[in-house]
């Protein structure tokens, strides 16, 4: 008995010792699987479909990175994380990449020792209320009961917003989106607040989405993006440029339909460099030449992923808005592949 406890403690200690090693790329390759932290279930962004296969906007980032590094978009071990557990999971090495609508903030980047590799969705915090509540502005929510996911930036924004407007509220902390949905629908809270995209995704799953309205006020900037641990720049570069490749592909008109044709060589040198027929960008990353081609082929380019998972033709129904290419009036602007 005592021996078992002792050996158990040793194992735990050994695991703890192994966690902080630096070369994530080697670990992932040796494992043959990418451990990717995702949401516990948010339609459009990350949720298992009817066949149990993870699908969604954030999930596509995981698949693209897995395709770039391991050559297989399905070589991903999805680790569902809550707002509370996500950072510990990443810091401890349980996951290699966190793609879970996480807001890029100063303190998370600097103090929590993470590295945000880019922004895949520019968002802001909003409020979802029932239409029959008769509220048309967030400024009318004085005294309301508000459901909120704990451990998020929204929690702090909410406190700031109500303090700045000299209003009171009653926060009901919840752990997951599903729990918030249950409480909100039962009327245990008047309003549900999180990122506007998340609200749209949640509303899409309601029986009667038209009975609920997202209030016009967006009370914060929420640039959501994937992140990795601080201190492994090579791995951070791979994640960053995989995301950039997806966005650049849309800008350059590379789609999952024409990528095989374009990969045999084009007139446009930037496309050639992106797809590996010219230059040695893949080698610089420590990958092969076709890394970006595989990443784009996994789910299509950024625009295709957006349209397929959360775009206007889906139940979530989000417009591109800020998330359009810079040429189309949005703010997606990736550095050149050179």
């Amino acid at each position: 008995m005592k021996k078992t406890v002792f050996l158990g403690a040793l194992t735990v200690a050994a695991i703890a010792a192994g966690a902080a090693s630096a070369a994530t790329l080697d670990d992932v390759k040796a494992r043959g699987k990418l451990n990717c932290g995702v949401v516990t279930g948010l339609v459009g962004f990350g949720a298992p479909d009817a066949n149990g296969r993870w699908e969604g906007f954030d999930v596509s980032v995981c698949r693209a990175v897995a395709a770039a590094v391991l050559g297989d978009p399905d070589a991903v071990e999805f680790v569902p994380t809550t707002g509370k557990t996500r950072f510990t999971a990443l810091a401890s090495g349980e996951i290699d990449l966190l793609a879970r609508n996480t807001t890029w903030t100063f303190s998370r980047d600097v103090d929590l020792k993470f590295e945000f590799v880019g922004v895949n969705y520019y968002d802001g915090q909003g409020f979802l209320v029932r239409k029959d509540l008769g509220v048309s502005s967030a400024k009318e929510l004085d005294g309301a009961t508000v459901c909120i996911q704990t451990g998020t930036t929204t929690e702090l924004n909410l406190a700031d917003f109500f303090r700045a407007n000299n209003m009171s509220y009653d926060p009901v902390p919840i752990e997951t989106n599903a729990e918030g949905q249950q409480q909100y629908l039962a009327g245990a809270c008047d309003a549900y607040t999180t990122d506007a995209s998340g609200l749209a995704a949640t509303r899409a799953t309601f029986e009667d989405p038209a009975a609920h309205v997202i209030l016009p006020e967006i009370i914060s900037k929420e640039p959501l993006g994937p992140l990795v641990r601080h201190g492994d720049q090579e791995w951070g570069d791979i994640a960053r440029w995989t995301l950039n490749a997806l966005i650049a592909a849309e800008e350059l008109g590379v789609t999952s339909a024409n990528i095989d044709e374009l990969a045999s060589g084009t007139e446009n040198p930037e496309i050639n460099r992106l797809l590996g027929t010219e230059g040695s960008l893949g080698e610089m990353l420590g990958l092969d030449a076709e890394w970006a081609k595989r990443a784009i082929k996994a789910n299509g380019n950024y625009g295709e992923i957006f349209a397929k998972t959360i775009g206007e033709s889906t139940p979530v129904g989000l417009a591109r808005g800020l998330n359009a290419q810079w040429k189309d009036g949005g703010i997606l602007y990736v550095p050149p592949f050179r």
Binding site: A13, T88, D142, G143, T145, G151, A159
Partner: protein, 422 residues
């Protein structure tokens, strides 16, 4: 014929540490101690070096920074610009609140069920068995979540109390509202309040104590002391003359009259909850997270306490019951005067563990969003500051302190009731 000789003294060889039974056990203990200390030292240095690699030096400075988040249930004043330490203190008080409420309720239900389970009434005894087995054999987390879901899904939302023909109505003459956000009950208020005492000035641990409450408690304690003096006087008279004077009206008067006078003096009245804006305002607001946690923890722990009480009663030999019955005591008096006082000796030690269990299980509060110490310090503060090691260490220390305190108090009580051998 053999002769026994002592081993030669003074000739100590190193091998004797292993082969000589006089030294062997000491050798083994020293080796084990060194191994354990090395392991602990290695764990600490490993943690420290890993944290240093991550660039996160352990520091408790975050406790003095503004928390930035709001806490819905607080027994003391708190707003989001207070420090993390203050937020942690709010959490500790919430933990203590639910633990205290839970321990009291669990004990009452547990003793009741434990005694009834031994009832000669077949139906009652079986019902109690059913209760004990259902609650004991389902994880407490499920009970907490289940209770919460029942409260949320079955009770009406506040806006259903609205309108000319509301779907839901308040109970007890419009004084109590049961909603799916919690229960609103009347609150005691004083129109001629004598104010509060402010303890600890402006520090993060400051808190206010109502002087009205202290006055009421002091009056009650004094009343009960006088009432017990009256009882003792009656005992003396009974012992001397054999006739027990009637005292209940005196005792009642001693308890009720001073309290009534005090409440009248302070201008006591009840503040009723009323629907204003989005929610009910006024009255005492018991959140459904508190109620769910309290009910589930109490009912769950009560099932264990019931078994402890039953075991305690069964441990008293049947001869005691028969002897008491032979003296002419009624069954209820036999239980309260003869069996329970003796059973307490068997009951108290395992009861301490149940109190500790309940207190520690209260950390499951996070499942229903009850802001205890796990929810504030080890939940939101941990997440917002990224200080995993520090917050968890403080949290563990707090639970340890609470548990050891409960243990100490209960052990003192145990010493008071345990069998004194003469």
């Amino acid at each position: 014929m053999t002769t026994l000789t002592d081993p030669a003294k003074g000739a100590f060889r190193l091998s004797m540490l292993i082969y000589d039974s006089r030294y062997r056990s000491i050798t083994i203990q020293i080796i084990a101690l060194i191994a354990v200390l090395t392991l602990i030292g290695w764990l600490i240095s490993n943690t420290a070096s890993n944290l240093a690699d991550l660039g996160k030096q352990p520091s408790f400075g975050f406790l003095g920074e503004a928390a930035g988040y709001d806490i819905n249930q607080r027994l003391i004043d708190y707003q989001n610009q207070d420090t993390h330490l203050r937020a942690a203190f709010v959490g500790v008080l919430n933990t203590l609140l639910v633990a205290a409420m839970g321990c009291v309720t669990a004990t009452i239900i547990g003793v009741f069920v434990g005694v009834l389970r031994l009832s000669k009434n077949w139906v009652v005894a079986r019902l109690m068995t059913l209760y004990v087995e259902t609650f004991r054999n389902v994880p407490v987390l499920l009970w907490i979540v289940f209770t919460m879901a029942v409260l949320i899904e079955t009770l009406p939302a506040p806006n259903q109390f609205r309108g000319a023909t509301p779907e839901a109505t308040m109970l007890l003459g419009d004084t109590v509202a049961l909603t799916n956000r919690g229960f609103y009950v009347p609150e005691p208020l004083f129109s001629r309040s004598i104010g509060d005492i402010h303890l600890f000035g402006a520090s993060p641990l400051r808190f206010d104590v109502s002087l009205d409450l202290i006055a009421v408690l002091a009056t009650l304690i004094a009343s009960f002391l006088i009432a017990s003096l009256i009882t003792r006087r009656a005992d003396r008279i009974q012992a001397a003359t054999g006739v027990r004077p009637r005292t209940w009206h005196w005792r009642l008067a001693v308890i009720v009259l001073p309290l009534a006078a005090l409440l009248a003096g302070l201008g006591f009245y009840l503040g009723h909850p009323a629907l204003k804006g989005f929610n009910f305002q006024g009255g005492v607001y018991m959140r459904n997270s508190l109620i769910a946690l309290w009910l589930a923890l109490s009912l769950y722990t009560a099932a264990f306490i019931a078994e402890i009480v039953r075991a305690g009663i069964l441990a008293i030999s049947k001869g005691q019951t028969e002897a008491a019955a032979a003296l002419g005591l009624r069954p209820r008096r036999v239980m309260s005067l003869v069996i329970l006082p003796q059973a307490l000796r068997v009951i108290i030690p395992p009861l301490i563990s149940q109190y500790l269990n309940l207190t520690k299980n209260s950390s499951l509060a996070i499942a229903v969003g009850y802001m205890d110490i796990t929810g504030t310090l080890m939940g939101i503060t941990l997440n917002q500051t990224g200080r995993e090691l520090e917050t968890i260490l403080i949290g563990m220390l707090i639970y340890l302190t609470i548990s050891l305190t409960i243990s100490f108090v209960m052990n003192v009580y145990n010493d008071a009731v345990k069998l004194r051998e003469r």
